[in-house]
Point group: C2
Chain length 296, copies 2
């Protein structure tokens, strides 16, 4: 089975689990609309790359896919919440996401804010349940790590840096730090969560950490290259918007050619980090290669 | 010591703990601004009524105050996040809160949204740590309950119902349901969390649950009466705004006199629910009386 098929298969599992968590009893209309907005934001799209990394990282330690599924679903809830809030008019003001109107365009700003809020809450609800792991000490470890990755020292802090950077001139180091927090932190969580589920030793955790760091940077660089060069229909969201806003990206700072070279180097780093796992890590290596070469 | 002094004493403990959790290393300016906004939203005001209920509920079972403090602090983080988001222009569009400009007025909408997001994240971070409880099974139970109370079946769902109700005509039952979710759920969590920390039996839990339900309704009714009759300077936020917006409140539906009678009955219910605890519950009984008679 090639990697794209495997990605699709896992994406379908995550989709189904999200659908189950977001299924609901009949509710009064205001609440039903909130649930509809949460479903709109979470279902029907997305490569589910973060849960994929989580599941594959856990698999390195013999953890069955179904035993990593709920942790992956919780992670995806945080990712989806962040997209809804980042797209808001007060933030990046994006009207298109995954080829569809963004949540606030479809449901109004108030409902979109609430839907993001409630998706974040759902993530922690999922992680607190025995279906994520029957050992509560594993659950609290996952919750602690996800909160760290999503909070002010991670994703939210990175988004704050990104907002503050509009119109400013950041250097490559500053851009890298911002992206490590904004995008990298959830990828790092994915791999760390796999290690936690697999009760990995320090050596294995360190290797996965290094992989996640390189993977996250490669993902962001590929994303920025798509924005600089891609076409909107294929990408499913507005392109060339970073330049239009004067947003700091490494592509803008380094130029396209140097960015491509750096991307290649990062894929190499990601692969090298996995050396201790030998052939077992083939899928994770493939994942690093495939995100670097994506065209959409 | 009278109850107001006791409330102030506990509020100070919560303030100090929030200050510790929101203290930070030197950070790049965008991130520092986010932390500043979180501090603005969480510190320097608030009666800390929810943590107070939590601590007093736990005390019924012999739990020391310091062992309930972090759970109370986490709860207050969720309450503060909800205020920041509810005040946003797309939601209730309030400019004044606790006698100061609301967070989005002081920091801009984008930072306010992020500050609310990150305060929610912080709540779950706090609950996942051994300082909340050394037994992780207690931590995951608290996380599960808080996520339930804050999510689509609780506070966020209630806010959605409230938004949907603007301009609509709700009956008393519908208003009560909306308020039970929007405001009541966090009060219920406060009491339930105390029971969890105290490893209470079913009887005691049930009694606290009944108390919390009556307390939450009384609190909301008193709040609505203040809005209908209060003066802005004393209350510290805009008043008479519910009527101006056609917001559904029980005061509007029942009239002030009937609302006052209902408030009195609810205080009686709250006190009666605590009968199984005898004299130990004197402070919780006082708390129900005092919130019903508050003037600010």
């Amino acid at each position: 089975m090639d990697l794209n098929q495997e990605l699709e298969r896992v994406a379908e599992l995550i989709e189904r689990r999200l659908d189950e968590f977001l299924g609901s009893e009949p509710a009064p209309s205001g609440q039903a609309r909130l649930i509809e907005a949460m479903r709109y934001a979470a279902l029907g799209g997305g490569k589910r790359l973060r849960p994929f990394l989580l599941i594959e990282s856990a698999r390195l330690f013999g953890v069955a896919e179904e035993d990593a599924l709920d942790a992956g679903t919780a992670l995806e809830c945080v990712h989806c919440y962040s997209l809804v809030h980042d797209d808001l008019p007060a933030m990046d003001d994006d009207a298109v996401r995954r080829g569809r109107p963004t949540a606030h365009v479809a449901f109004g700003e108030a409902t979109a804010i609430l839907a993001g809020d409630a998706l974040q809450t759902l993530a922690f609800a999922i992680l607190s349940r025995p279906s994520t792991h029957r050992d509560p000490s594993v659950c609290v470890k996952l919750i602690d790590l996800l909160a760290e990755a999503a909070g002010v020292q991670g994703m939210a802090g990175g988004q704050a840096l990104d907002l503050a950077a509009e119109g400013e001139t950041l250097g490559p180091m500053e851009v890298a730090k911002m992206q490590a927090m904004k995008t990298g932190a959830l990828f790092s969580f994915a791999c760390e969560a796999g290690a936690v589920l697999g009760r990995a030793d320090e050596l294995a955790r360190g290797a996965l950490k290094a992989y996640a760091a390189a993977f996250g940077q490669a993902f962001q660089l590929a994303d920025d290259l798509l924005d600089a060069e891609g076409d909107e229909e294929a990408v499913g969201k507005a392109v060339a918007k970073d330049a239009g806003r004067g947003k700091a990206t490494l592509v803008a700072l380094l130029g396209v050619e140097a960015a491509r070279a750096r991307l290649k180097a990062l894929v190499g780093e990601a692969e090298a980090a996995l050396a201790p796992f030998g052939d077992k890590a083939a899928t994770l290596k493939d994942a690093a290669r495939i995100i670097a070469s994506r065209r959409a």
